[in-house]
């Protein structure tokens, strides 16, 4: 993409006394705000995000929180860039520390020329690049509550980064206007306290963030886009159980669905959630649940039931560190093997994996369509970073949305049938059907092996035919499944393969590799299972080596590919990370270039 002519946002009048050097121009900036849970680190990140968006920048934010309501170290990171981004920067330009632990935890991520801005009313730092302001006592003393330290810190940052004062103020108004006149007034005062402190200390613009042209963007998360995709895709029944990092999907839908005669229920456990969804799907509603590892384990029973009973359900799995309770708030992609082999016995299932928040919207709709058309459970695999990190994204386009309810018959179409068998054998394995309540229609639906009528059967010939009816859907549906996206140089001999949120760091790694003269091409898998051999085989044929980039210990997607394409074994390498944090682009570059 073309970059706009650079415009700086610094105002010379803001420069403090003694400020002589020219501010460094930044087109890509990362700020980390750390403190104790409840310190309001997210507030600062949110305020910065609002400012950067007003300046037309792309932003990406992530949270590093512990699984507790308050207390414990927590930090929020925000990156702003003139280029589209979908990952955190490898180094941070500014650390805002509300306690000393924030410095200890985050110092290793600070760029060599980065700055630490800390609350000197809480601790003192002797680090050469650290600057202290007593935010809590300054704001607390004048405004009566130390909580305004967040806005004061934002004010100081605005001076250090040469923000436009009017826009800086507009951000505060935008956030607090609707709270109360008092909140707005006090936060505006806190802003001035922070600004003045920085100006008095000669902190005038050290670096200046260049303007961008990301004007048409929305700011969202994968979880929010799944929820919106569900609504637009005709999803009308959702049952779930709170679990990090999936809960927001349920919370968003509690707000979004009721105006459309939709129902959202918080169930007593994941067993109930999946079975309520099964009941609703049987009754004819487009139905979904969302969960994460431990909940997925409980839902496994129900998903297998839907697979055999041929009921269309969608399960969104927002993966976190496992197994067991693992690390609830941290990032991993280690559920894939489980999803591919989900449950006892054998039944068809499709696993779709969006790579961007925008993709979350469209693939949720695809998942609903595929479930309805093929009468199978469809698993939508996200990961913590994709689910919860906020990112600027192109707005969704409803003109791209198509709904497909497959062989769902109207009452009139049904009345023209001679016989109605819920599990009728057909060439594509899909049986025409109507929901219960249709005059004249009766069906038996069961997770037991059954004959075409739905009656329990242990007849060996019937068993074989029914297994083919169901299992062959994974072959028959291949052309319907979401296709991969390919990025990079078509003639490159180095391949990268990834799914989910690794899209962001892999795309950045490709740019970094290109600057080093290393050409690469990237296969972003959007269907993971059945393994899309028809596109993976030619991709692998065209490269000398392919790196499967994923967040798990055993290289789960790599193993699935090897199983499906054993002849490609020699070309496949794994780039793995399982420390609970997302890849940074240089890590991928390092692994590719060291080989």
């Amino acid at each position: 993409m073309t970059t706009p002519a650079a415009r700086t946002t610094a105002l010379p009048a803001e420069s403090g006394p003694g400020e002589a050097r020219r501010p460094k121009e930044l087109s890509d900036l990362a700020v980390l705000i750390g403190g104790q849970g409840g310190d309001g680190t997210l507030t600062v990140s949110d305020l910065l995000g609002r400012y950067f968006r007003l300046k037309g920048l792309y932003i990406y934010t992530s949270r590093n929180v512990l699984s507790r309501i308050r207390g414990g170290h927590a930090d929020a990171s925000i990156r702003a860039s003139r280029e589209p981004i979908a990952a955190m920067k490898s180094q941070v330009d500014l650390i805002v520390a509300f306690d000393s632990e924030a410095v200890d935890v985050s110092r290793a991520e600070l760029a060599p020329d980065g700055t630490i801005l800390y609350d000197s009313s809480v601790f003192h730092s002797d680090l050469p690049n650290a600057v202290g302001f007593p935010f809590a006592t300054l704001a607390g003393g004048q405004l009566g509550a130390p909580i305004y330290k967040n806005t004061a810190a934002y004010g100081a940052i605005s001076v250090m980064l040469g923000f436009d004062p009017a826009l800086t103020r507009q951000v505060i108004e935008g956030r607090f206007r609707r709270r109360s006149p008092e909140a707005l007034e006090k936060n505006l005062k806190a802003l001035e306290i922070g600004r003045q402190a920085a100006i008095d200390a000669g902190m005038g613009p050290r670096s200046v963030v260049l303007d961008g042209e990301a004007r048409d963007q929305v700011l969202t998360t994968g979880n929010q886009m799944v929820a919106l995709g569900f609504v637009v895709g005709g999803g009308r029944f959702f049952a779930g159980y709170p679990i990090t990092p999936a809960t927001e999907i349920m919370e968003y839908l509690m707000r979004y669905l009721p105006p459309f005669h939709g129902i959202v229920r918080q169930a007593e456990d994941e067993l109930a959630a999946i079975n309520m969804v099964i009941g609703a799907a049987y009754a004819g509603a487009r139905a979904m649940t969302s969960t994460s590892g431990p909940g997925l384990s409980l839902m496994t029973e129900g998903i297998g039931h839907a697979g055999t009973a041929e009921l269309p359900i969608v399960v969104a799995d927002c993966a976190r560190v496992g197994p067991s309770t693992g690390e609830p708030t941290r990032h991993e992609q280690s559920d894939l093997s489980h999803l591919a082999n989900l449950g006892h016995g054998e039944y068809p299932r499709f696993i779709l994996a969006p790579g961007t928040v925008e993709d979350c919207f469209y693939l949720t709709i695809d998942a609903l369509n595929l479930a309805d058309k093929w009468r199978v459970p469809v698993l939508l695999l996200l990961d913590q970073a994709l689910s919860q990190n906020t990112v600027t994204s192109a707005p969704v386009d409803l003109a791209r949305v198509r709904l497909d309810r497959g062989k769902l018959l109207t009452a009139e179409e049904f009345a023209k049938l001679e016989t109605y068998k819920y599990y009728q054998f057909t060439p594509d394995g899909i049986s025409p059907h109507v929901p219960p309540g249709t005059p004249g229609a009766f069906a038996q639906v069961t997770g037991n092996e059954h004959d075409e009528w739905g009656h329990v059967s242990v007849n060996p010939a019937n068993r074989v035919k029914m297994m083919h009816k169901r299992m062959d859907k994974m072959l028959q549906a291949r052309e319907d499944l979401p296709s991969p996206r390919l990025f990079g140089d078509d003639s490159a001999r180095i391949g990268l393969i990834g799914f989910g949120s690794t899209w962001g760091p892999i795309r950045e790694a490709q740019s970094l590799l290109e600057r080093r003269g290393v050409r690469s091409k990237f296969y972003q898998a959007r269907t993971l299972f059945p393994v899309p051999t028809e596109t993976l085989r030619p991709f692998l044929d065209s490269v000398d080596a392919a790196y499967v980039v994923e967040h798990n210990f055993t290289g789960q997607f790599g193993r699935l590919i090897r199983e499906a394409l054993p002849e490609q074994h020699g070309k496949l390498r794994s780039i793995l990370k399982y420390d609970g944090h997302s890849f940074r682009a240089p890590e991928i570059v390092g692994r590719v270039t060291e080989a």
Binding site: V232, F260, I263, R265, I278, A283, T419, A441, F442, Q444
Partner: protein, 290 residues
Amino acid sequence: MVQSVKPIPSTWCPGCGDFGVLAAVKKAAAEVGVPVHEQVLVGGIGCSGGIHNFIEINGIHALHGRLLAQAIGVKLANPRLTVIAAGGDGDGYAIGMGHFMHAFKKNASILYIVMNNETYGLTKGQASPTSQIGFEGNIEHPFDAILTALSIPVPNFIARTFSGDPKGMMQVLAEAIRFNRANGGFAFVEDLSPCVTYNDTFKLWREKIVDVAKLPGYDATDRKTVFRLCLETMESGRIPVGVMHRPKSVDPETAALELKLLPDRVGPAVTDIALEPNRAAYERLIQSVT
């Protein structure tokens, strides 16, 4: 006339108490006048859970213990359906206990029939949650679903019937179905349904049952009194049967879950999901939240 699925011959042992339930369900639905295509029977796992195969009806055979969750899903998706969940005591009070308790809390207008035979018949006679102490070496206290149900103050319908009294059972089930059709809330009926093969209690139960309606002070709208009558009956070694609770009046606007969620009774399964009629509303929603 489209040829749909036909019932298959029952797989139950001759003389099984579940035959009484089968006959009573059919007669009760017919008496209430529920069109057959509007009935959904959700079966559990176990002998009793096969009941949906033996009736011309829309049947869904749930996972073991999960029938209530599926039945509530069906009802909420299309509140115009008459939804009956039917299973055994192991299904409902052991593996399904969590869902059983929450069904009272949810209070959706479905009928749940538990065919209680105090044993796991299909797996050949193990002790169940309602087994008496000493049965197959059982040393745990039997669970009483009626006392538990009465202890939850929710406007609902609670009854216990006996397969040896098919006429009484039919009347109770008809009342329960009417209660559901009026969106009154959850209806729970425990039927004493002996397993003639592994725990034949027909004669014993016939001797022990006591009709609570004939006890002094009985008032089905008064939980406290009925709870006391049931407890006293049990302490004297007898088994209380009859309608244990019915609300003084049905208040559909506040009672049933499906009406709280869907005041106009248009459920998720029957609403128009096509893009065009909803496009403008979708665009407004997306713009307002992103």
